[in-house]
């Protein structure tokens, strides 16, 4: 019984949304939308990351991390992420519909 319940749930619970499933957001990615809105039409929100080229996001994050790019807060945040984590976040946003 327990097993059939699990299988049944697996079949619908993790339905992918718009390409990349939010359940599989890589480490740290779901915090980004606190400032970089995922919903459209939010006034004064920072640029959305959805659908951005992965190389752009990666480049920017690496530059922030090395203080090569002027920043207010992103330089402090980027320092908390490894190369691999940054790449995963960039890929995940790139897969989403803008």
């Amino acid at each position: 019984m327990v097993r059939s319940r699990a299988l049944f749930i697996v079949s619908f619970v993790l339905a992918a949304v718009g390409g990349a499933s939010a359940a599989d957001a890589p480490r740290g990615a779901s915090s980004c939308i606190g400032c970089h809105a995922a919903r459209p039409g939010i006034e004064d929100a920072l640029p959305s990351l959805k659908g951005r080229k992965a190389s752009e996001v990666t480049e920017a994050m690496l530059a922030f991390r090395q203080d090569r790019k002027p920043a207010t807060v992103m330089n402090r945040i980027a320092k908390g992420f490894s190369d691999a984590e940054i790449a995963a976040i960039a890929d995940w946003f790139a897969e989403q519909q803008p």
């Binding site: 749930i9 939010a22 359940a23 779901s30 004064d44 908390g80």
Partner: protein
């Protein structure tokens, strides 16, 4: 309907026979979508409910919230300074409901983790497979003799936004020039550690413009506070002589209050104010205490990966009510936690292993409308707790130019719009 009744009677039977939550209940709900009940529709609870519906649309999510309109605390200090209307702080749950979340607008009054039932004030029981408790803070009234609901009508706390915010605003407007504003600030952990100093700044901004002979004294139960150097530099530059800060070692901790004389008694001195803002000591929202998921600290210990309570199984706690390492209690943090917890719960329902998360927090504060500053941190689970990733995070630079301060003030608005937009819009 028949299915539901059957399920209820099975659970009721289990309850009557004294059975605690056990796999015995599981078969009864096998054929149904999992049910998640959320108590509290703030940044944590409403953010969670929407995120879970987004990830796992077929989960039944019921959000229990006392108020039909949510009044946000971030930017409520702007309301106090007359920079903004309270209506700009208010949001409804229409979009949350439109995402398929079932709304129940009444307080939850009891939780039985054994039978997995939440009881609403009307007596309606709600059964859950997983419960999320996200009630924010409550006040520890007994920790501050003299302060209670009645005293708060005279000396507002304005630490829950709404009527209290407007009351403090009106009192400042009514104060004659030359009056003294007193603020008392509790020790950490408290909701929004920099918020009290932002408030002192914005009150000073108002006094400087409208009541220049008035001053504000901040009585603090600690010797160090969030973004201290940034705030104190700003005070010197913007409001010289107008803000006095009294820390713990100088007698800033308030031991009791007297609403009749509007006075605050510290160790060395009793302070009398024209307008008095008392921010009382805090703990997790009352329903968390009722549910038995708080520990000795008054806050809720949680697993750092799933936010499941370390005390009660199948109960998760989010937002201000939790103690998540050194992460400050912020709307941003509450929202971030909600996203992580939604993904984790979806995985748990699917019998998959939740990923190890990383959480970001960013808090903006302003010392004046165009003078912003921030504290950021990246956090990750280490053992049983959350620790800050070393080398990351920290405060805005102390020597930043005015252009940066102005940009951070603008980003503060952007953050408010984004967090409220993602949660309620």
């Amino acid at each position: 309907m028949t299915v539901r009744l059957t399920r209820r009677s099975v659970l009721a039977g289990a309850l009557a026979s004294g059975a605690m939550a056990s796999p015995v209940c599981a078969p009864a709900i096998a054929q149904n979508a999992p049910r998640v009940v959320v108590i509290g529709g703030g940044f944590a609870g409403a953010g969670f409910a929407r995120a879970l519906k987004h990830i796992a649309n077929n989960v039944n999510v019921t959000l229990v919230e006392t108020h039909r309109t949510f009044t946000a605390c971030p930017f409520s200090n702007h309301v106090i300074a007359g920079l903004r209307d309270l209506s700009a702080q208010q949001f409804t749950y229409e979009k949350v409901a439109a995402d398929g979340v079932t709304m129940a607008f009444e307080p939850a009054i009891a939780v039985d983790a054994g039978s997995r039932t939440v009881t609403l004030r009307s007596g309606t029981p709600l059964m859950y497979d997983r419960l999320v408790i996200a009630p924010g803070i409550s006040f520890n009234w007994s920790a501050l003799p003299g302060y209670d609901e009645a005293a708060a009508k005279i000396m507002p706390h304005a630490w829950h936004a709404g009527e209290q915010t407007e009351l403090l605003r009106r009192q400042l407007e009514a104060m004659e020039d030359g009056g003294t504003v007193l603020m008392s600030v509790p020790d950490n952990p408290m909701r929004c550690p920099p918020g009290a100093y932002e408030r002192a700044s914005l009150i000073a901004w108002y006094l400087k413009a409208k009541k220049p002979r008035s001053k504000i004294i901040v009585l603090d139960a600690k010797d160090q506070f969030s973004m201290q150097r940034l705030f104190q530099n700003a005070w010197k530059a913007l409001y010289p002589g107008q803000i006095e800060w009294v820390g713990l070692s100088n007698g800033g901790k308030i031991n009791s209050v007297d609403p009749k004389t509007r006075s605050l008694a510290g160790d060395f001195e009793t302070y009398k104010g024209t307008v008095v803002n008392v921010i009382p000591p805090q703990r997790a929202g009352t329903i968390a205490q009722v549910a038995g998921v708080t520990d000795r600290t008054g806050w809720c210990p949680v697993d750092p990966i799933t936010f499941e309570s370390k005390i009660a199984p199948n109960v998760h706690v989010l937002g201000d009510a939790t103690l998540v390492g050194t992460m400050p209690k912020s709307a941003f943090g509450a929202f971030s936690q909600a996203q992580i917890c939604a993904a984790a719960i979806a995985k748990l329902f699917a019998n998959a292993t939740p990923d190890r998360p990383k959480l970001i927090n960013t808090c903006y504060s302003v010392a004046a409308p165009d003078y912003g500053m921030s504290v950021a941190g990246v956090y990750q689970p280490v053992g049983n707790d959350y620790l800050e990733v070393e080398g990351a995070g920290g405060n805005s630079p102390v020597d930043a130019p005015q252009a940066t301060r102005a940009l951070e003030a603008k980003y503060a608005h952007g953050l408010f719009n984004t967090l409220t937009g993602e949660t309620f819009g």
